[in-house]
């Protein structure tokens, strides 16, 4: 068994996981039991397929094994309680093992979508929705998810089990969301996928900046969603944003895990294929009308990625896009980025004036970002002593180690140059 065929099987399992779970869930209705059974089936496949070969219809194989597990569990439970009639009251086992024939492919696709919407149910906390999505739709094991979020496996197991309980008690039926529901809940789904990507791209805490397994998984799931909803501009926008951001990954850190900012990155390390795909996606989407936040952010990322050198960046266009973004969202971080773009077009002093307005608002008080941006603009304005002070202030307040190291180095570099 070669490394690549192992990886192929793993990939195959993740591809099939959501549809298998969807099909099982449609039959048995119990989210917790179905989910456990599918995990067991995936595990069995991971053990048997490398040895015996991949079955002709992998999905049918997985659905059959998972269904059998549920039936077995119900039987064991019933026997223990001397309530054999429970089994009889269920769908007869031979019927359970028959796969739906007509429109099977379509049903499978819809199942994956329903599952994604179920996992990102607005009643669940964001952390829970993320965990459940990775497990049920992504097919990751609890141990893998726990490792990615740096929590003990038992904690993650509890989080997932509580999520399943909430879904059960909320009485959300397993059915295709109406177009109205799709519209309402797609926002939550995209947000969860975006958060999974962000966590993978910039780990919010800890010694390592990247959790590539998570960003890769987020891209894979968003790609799946885009296949299911090809006409949705925001889905395409989010996928483009992820691709255009992830394309820079190799250039983003140095040998000691230190952060390398966009303007000094070695652009030859950027992934040209991902950039091309992202640009094509966002270009096709932008021409269709109705703009959303992810599309605008993807457009900004595309402008950055298309500049062969940092100094070739089309800052007026980026500034215009941030103007659009400010109209769509009341996020102070967007306002901060708008100030940076303004500084790049109209000079650092104009940017610093905009920061004063943000000071007055006070919404970024708790964040070190305002200090970091102010330090950058002060440096560009040649006010080095003030810049050093703000770099240090930002370094004292950030809770990311790579970022702290970066800010400390910036402060020290300017300070050394001065003396």
């Amino acid at each position: 068994m070669t490394e690549s065929s192992h990886r192929r099987i793993e990939h195959l399992l993740r591809e099939h996981a959501p549809r298998v779970l969807g099909a099982v869930l449609r039959k048995f209705r119990d989210f917790g039991a179905s989910e456990d059974a599918v995990q067991e089936a995936l595990l069995a496949a991971a053990q048997q397929w490398p040895r015996d070969g991949v079955p002709e219809d992998p999905r049918a194989w997985l659905i059959q094994v998972a269904s059998r597990r549920i039936t077995d569990h119900v039987r064991a439970e019933a026997a223990r309680r001397h309530r054999e009639e429970l089994v009889v009251s269920l769908v007869p086992p031979e019927l359970q093992l028959v796969l739906p024939r007509e429109g099977d492919e379509l049903a499978g696709r819809d199942d994956a979508l329903v599952l994604l919407f179920m996992c990102c149910h607005p009643a669940l906390s964001t952390a829970t929705a993320i965990a459940l999505t990775l497990r049920a739709v992504g097919g990751l094991t609890t141990a893998e998810i726990a490792k990615a979020f740096l929590v003990p496996e038992t904690t993650m197991a509890q989080r997932i089990s509580r999520a399943k309980q909430s879904i059960k008690s909320s009485g959300v039926p397993f059915q295709k969301p109406t177009p109205e529901e799709t519209g309402q809940r797609l926002g939550a789904v995209l947000h969860v996928l975006y958060l999974i990507f962000s966590e993978g791209y910039t780990a919010s805490s800890g010694p390592e900046l990247h959790r590539t397994d998570l960003s890769g998984e987020a891209i894979r799931l968003t790609r799946m969603l885009h296949t299911l909803l090809p006409e949705d501009g925001e889905v395409a926008g989010l996928l483009a944003l992820m691709l255009l951001t992830d394309a820079r990954r190799a250039a983003r850190t140095g040998p000691e895990g230190e952060l390398i900012p966009l303007d000094v990155q070695d652009r030859s390390l950027w992934d040209a294929g991902m950039i091309e795909e992202g640009v094509a996606l966002i270009s096709a989407t932008l021409s269709k009308g109705s703009l959303g936040m992810y599309q605008v952010q993807a457009a900004i990322a595309a402008v950055h990625d298309e500049a062969p050198r940092a100094e070739d960046t089309d800052w007026p266009q980026i500034l215009a896009l941030y103007g659009v973004l400010m109209g769509l969202s009341d996020n102070p971080v967007v306002a901060l980025n708008h100030a940076i773009a303004t500084a790049m077009v109209h000079g650092p002093e104009v940017g610093l004036e905009l920061l004063k307005a943000l000071d007055a608002e006070g919404r970024l008080e708790e964040s070190h970002r305002l200090d970091a941006v102010r330090a950058h603009l002060l440096e560009r304005a040649g006010r080095h002593a003030e810049a050093v002070a703000h770099y240090r202030e930002a370094a004292e307040r950030t809770t990311s180690l790579p970022e702290r190291n970066y800010l400390l180095t910036q402060a020290a570099r300017l300070n050394d140059a001065k003396s």
């Binding site: 800890g206 010694p207 000691e256 895990g257 230190e258 240090r392 370094a395 004292e396 307040r397 950030t398 809770t399 180690l401 702290r404 190291n405 400390l408 180095t409 402060a411 020290a412 570099r413 300070n415 050394d416």
Partner: protein, 133 residues
């Protein structure tokens, strides 16, 4: 028999966060040492956890008041006594834990001079056997 130890690094004598005033080369040397140290311990399979803590500016000291509500303005330790980060290692002997702590203590500081920070070494208590829980 493997034993677990927690190695707690206190701030260098100049005080917590004093690194912000070091020259660039010295900061780089210190970061490089810490990254290399963690890599080396991971390589020997002895490192379980290593975390640096945010500077004390971010710290809150919480104690419940008489009404059970938290009070967060307690008396802080002196800045030179602040916990700066910690490692949890799994080693064969206490001596090995002390050796690791000594190596960490000598991380380079200003001008490349070893900081000789105080590292507190405490054994992690083992839990009850799983079947007793």
């Amino acid at each position: 028999m493997k034993m677990k130890y927690m190695l707690m690094m206190n701030s260098p004598r100049e005080g917590a966060g004093s690194i912000i005033h070091w020259p660039k080369e010295d900061i780089h040397a210190h970061i490089k040492f810490m990254v290399g140290f963690a890599k080396k311990l991971s390589g020997t399979g002895e490192l379980l956890v290593a975390e640096g803590l945010a500077f004390p500016d971010q710290a809150k000291r919480v104690r419940a008041g008489a009404d059970g509500k938290p009070i967060t303005d307690g008396v802080f330790p002196e800045s030179k006594e602040f916990l700066a980060g910690y490692w949890i290692v799994e080693v064969d002997s206490p001596e090995r834990a002390y050796d690791i702590a000594a190596e960490a203590s000598a991380a380079p500081g200003r001008g490349g001079v070893p900081l000789n920070m105080a590292i507190e070494v405490r054994q992690v208590m083992s839990g009850p056997p799983p079947d007793m829980m």
